[in-house]
Amino acid sequence: MKRSRIVLFSVLLILAVALRLNSSTVLPSDRYAEGLRELSEGRIDNVRQIIRQLRLGRGTAAWGDLLDGQRLNQQGRFEDALIALSGAGEDEQTRGVAWQTAARILLDLGRFSEAIPMLLQTLQWNPSAEEERRLLAAAYYDIGAMELALDQLEEVTNLSRDDFRPFYMMATILSDYEQFEDAVPRYEAALNLLPDRQDLRDEVIAGFCECLIRLRRYEAALRQADSGSQRKELQLIRAQCHFSLRRYDQAATLIKAVLSEDPDQVTALVMKSQLMDLNGETAAAIELLQQVLADHPAELEAHLRLADLLASSGRSEDAAAARSRADEWAAVHEQFTALHQQLVSDTENAELRLQLARLAYRMQRFELAGTWARAAAGMAAADAEMQAEAAALITRGQLP
């Protein structure tokens, strides 16, 4: 008796909800939007209620799944979120957002091999889906498929004409691949579109300046750097420009400022050693570089400069030994470069990414090692051995 009463109550409740949904003019998309607002304000009970209502409504279950996916995502329950979103992906109305959200989660999880096809499919349905293009570009970037990333970014700039980010990302990629002339106008565009945030401006300026320095346009680089703040990265760039323009006093002042903020800044230390050498303090410069290399044995430029100074001071055999060590590191760098070159065309090779991670780790570029290890793991989810090695590289990379 009691049980039948419960059943009856449930049926009535469902009917009431259904009647309410049907009788009201509230669209499920509006309820979903309302749910998102509640979610953003942390009122989870309300969200749950809306999800329940949407799931019970006629033809609105997918919206409920979608909202549930967002909730679970926010709570860090990514696998559950993906299950909920897969339900939302069944309905044409919610499919776009569901897949986009799922793709974003997969990218956050580093599961590139699942995210990329999902984004590609979404773009087939809706070629002007700006956010999906942006995510796809980011995914390609993260796995090192730079040609593909550039193609997508080019599309993003067509869709989103006042966003600095695709320009900045294109500029970064092009600089990395030493296409400095192509990078310059992208940096300029990014700078012109930047929001009013000094940290962003500084970051873009720093990249732009490095590009200009590689083009040996030191005065232009200096002008750009001077339009930024006094943060150490820009001070270092200013120092490099002054050094190349033979304004050694100015370079020395800037180097001193950088090192007072970050005594371990390798580029600044190497430049300092060069300035010391120019001042006739070769022995001290050698000592400085030896200290740098004790802490950073993989720093190729420090090896090279040390060899130069040892040769200058008549320590021939020490110089030859330093050259030999530099040559060994140069070979590692060359191998790293060659592997990077392969990435461009070999866009689906996880092992290649893992090799890069190993090399980056050897070169003490731990952040980079982590990036490539994540890429490898994200491209070979079923390869337990690779997952384990990638995880180890990521973990070890965080330790130093």
Binding site: A33, L36, Q70, V97, Q100, N126, A129, E130, A137, A138, A139, Y141, L150, L159, S160, R161, D162, D163, R165, P166, F167, M169, T172, S175, D176, E178, Q179, F180, E181, D182, V184, P185, R186, E188, A189, N192, L193, L200, E210, L215, R216, Y218, R246, E301, L304, D308, A311, S316, A319, A320, R323, S324, A326, D327, W329, A330, H340, Q341, V344, L368
Partner: protein, 610 residues
């Protein structure tokens, strides 16, 4: 010659050297807080309310900039340096000779990239340097063809074009390099012609004609580009080092494309394997023995330039080889028995970043006046030309940045090059002929300006020649380059052989109160053409030196005369020649402004008549 025309358009065409800073996760980069990003998970997917907004100027500028490929980026304002006046001699004085590469046939092969050189040779020993000009090559029906070599005879006030057939046997080589030396020690200058498929020796008959002594057997089938002749073994006979390039053939000719991914263009050397350089030791009787393996110089590199000189001043002749997209090689001669590869130890094989450059032309010169020969290489765009200061004990230091060489704008592709005291201020300046290797470069021009870098106080190089009326302001597809004093006025002139445009002679019109001396050296105990011999002019406070070199530049040979510019207030106190093998001869201090022959073991100098 890196960074162009690989099969896949786009990034693959470019070197990836700076990727170490690729440490931003793309997702982070794109999600970085920006003013226009859609909130994550927002239902507003696909919508773009700004779709019809006017395109910001910055975006237009960016896109226009991206499309502007091919324009030469304007270099930053040069420092105020007085231009050195050079005038191109008119066609009346220098008859038209056009080296060609067959590019009009549209095969777009890497063979077209190299162009060809020339040599300043006093053909008939009348005292005046003539010009032997490589003709280059052509294509027909997917085969490689030769073009004739030309001779411009110096009549002291003009050059006459001598019909090739009357003085030279026809060659079958599509050729690049003319490496001149007295190979058989008969007093007349011979040459080695380097080309695709081999190298051929031409001996001077002494009557103004040459005859072929045949192909160098070990070079058959190899793509030979440049050569350097010197007595490497110390037996008095001139040996030959041949720089070989890559294994391209019509059977190994992948299609390569320009930036647009559609237009065919010349391929990058990165697509091909390097070939073994060759060392031919003379038996003194006209025969040569292949010694590359035994002497340790058979590197499978992609060599374009080579210079032979005594770099450690120990009396034997060493080698510096400029390789394309690979580490350059420095070989130390071990007392005429073999070469030791001292590339790594020396530091002269790589850029200041420790990476290989793409080197074409090379030279040797004591630019800082410390008595030690320094090294120079002209490199590809984005790479700095490289100057390596000799620190002694086979240690060199890349001082491109410290000497201002690295401050030259980054878009030049350097080929023929030579050190010479063009302004006669007592130190050596340097000139470089530039031109691109592809037909459709993305950013730099196909035709490029030459660069004349003035040595300032032996510490710094500053570009001069930027006067718009100067021939240095004109753009060409520069390749071969030689230095000679064509009219015996004591000013170093420049001969150039661009691709598909006439050979030019740029006459040096520098004025000033300075003096000069010019010397031709003849070895007796040493090889007659005494590569490695050093002329030392001792002044009151310091010495000036010049060395006889083999090869150098790119596919070219400069005059054998060693020209010294001497500041007006300088006084020469001694003239000493240090000969290969270790002997030295002191000569009486000569009158200024004369050309003299200095013979090993004789204490008198002979004037070369005007």
């Amino acid at each position: 010659m890196n960074g162009h025309g690989e099969p896949s358009a786009g990034l693959l065409r470019f070197p990836v050297l700076s990727l170490l800073r690729l440490n931003l996760a793309g997702l982070q980069l794109l999600i970085m807080c920006g003013c226009t990003q859609q909130p994550s998970g927002d239902s507003g997917i696909g919508g773009n309310e700004d779709a019809n907004r006017d395109i910001p100027a910055a975006v237009i500028a960016a896109r226009d900039g991206a499309k502007r490929g091919g324009e030469e980026t304007a270099p930053e304002s040069p420092a105020a340096v007085t231009a050195m006046p050079f005038e191109r001699l008119s066609a009346e004085l220098v008859p038209e000779v056009i080296p060609a590469n067959g590019s009009e046939r549209d095969y777009s092969t890497i063979l077209e990239s190299l162009g060809s050189g020339l040599a300043a040779i006093d053909v008939d020993r009348d005292g005046w340097d003539d010009l032997v000009i490589a003709g280059g090559g052509d294509f027909g029906n997917r085969s490689v063809l030769s073009r004739p070599i030309s001779l411009l005879r110096n009549r002291s006030d003009r050059f006459d074009l001598i019909a090739a057939a009357t003085v030279l046997p026809e060659t079958e080589l599509y050729h690049h390099g003319v490496s001149a030396a007295d190979l058989n020690s008969d007093g007349f200058t011979d040459f080695v012609l380097c080309g695709y498929g081999g190298a051929e020796v031409y001996l001077n008959a002494g009557d103004g004609t040459w005859y072929s002594a045949g192909r160098l057997a070990s070079c058959d089938g190899l793509w030979c580009v440049s050569a350097a002749s010197a007595d490497f073994s110390g037996d008095g006979a001139a040996d030959i080092f041949i720089a070989t390039y890559v294994d391209w053939s019509f059977e190994n000719d992948p299609p390569c494309y320009a930036e647009d991914g559609v237009t065919r263009d010349n391929c990058s050397p990165r697509l091909f394997n390097g070939q073994p350089d060759q060392l031919l030791l003379s038996d003194g009787q006209g025969g040569y023995r292949d010694a590359a393996d035994h002497w340790g110089v058979n590197s499978h590199s992609k060599a374009l330039g080579v210079v032979a000189a005594d770099l450690d001043l120990d009396g034997d002749v060493d080698l510096y080889v400029g390789n394309d997209v690979m580490t350059n090689h420095l070989y130390r001669n071990e007392e005429g028995r073999s070469f030791e590869d001292v590339t790594v130890r020396s530091g002269a094989g790589v850029s200041s970043r420790g990476t290989p450059d793409a080197s074409m032309g090379v030279d040797v010169c004591d630019f800082n006046g410390d008595g030690r020969p320094d090294l120079w290489s002209a490199n590809f765009e984005h790479e700095s030309f490289a100057i390596y200061r000799n620190q002694g004990d086979w240690l060199f230091r890349n001082v491109s940045e410290l000497t201002g060489v690295a401050s030259i704008p980054a878009l030049y592709v350097g080929w023929g090059t030579a050190f010479q005291d063009f302004d006669r201020d007592g130190d050596s300046d340097v000139v470089v002929a530039n031109g691109n290797v592809v037909k459709h470069p993305a950013h730099s021009a196909v035709r490029q300006r030459m660069l004349l870098l003035e040595n300032q106080n032996q510490t710094w190089f500053e570009e001069t020649g930027g006067d718009p009326r100067s021939p240095f302001s004109e753009s060409r597809e520069g390749r071969g380059l030689v230095v000679l004093d064509w009219n015996h006025d004591g000013r170093a002139d420049i001969g150039i052989s661009p691709v598909n445009t006439p050979v030019e002679l740029l006459e040096n019109r520098c004025s000033g109160e300075s003096n000069w001396l010019s010397f031709r050296l003849i070895g007796t105990a040493a090889s007659r053409h005494p590569v490695g011999a050093v002329v030392e002019l001792q002044l009151r406070k310091h010495s000036m030196t010049r060395q006889v070199k083999g090869g150098g530049s790119y596919a070219s040979t400069s005059s054998e005369l060693l020209l010294f510019g001497i500041p007006a207030d300088a006084e020469v106190q001694r003239l000493v020649v240090h000969w290969p093998g270790g002997t030295r001869t002191e000569f009486p201090v000569p009158e200024f402004n004369s050309i003299l022959t200095l013979i090993e073991g004789r204490a008198t100098a002979t004037a070369i008549p005007d």
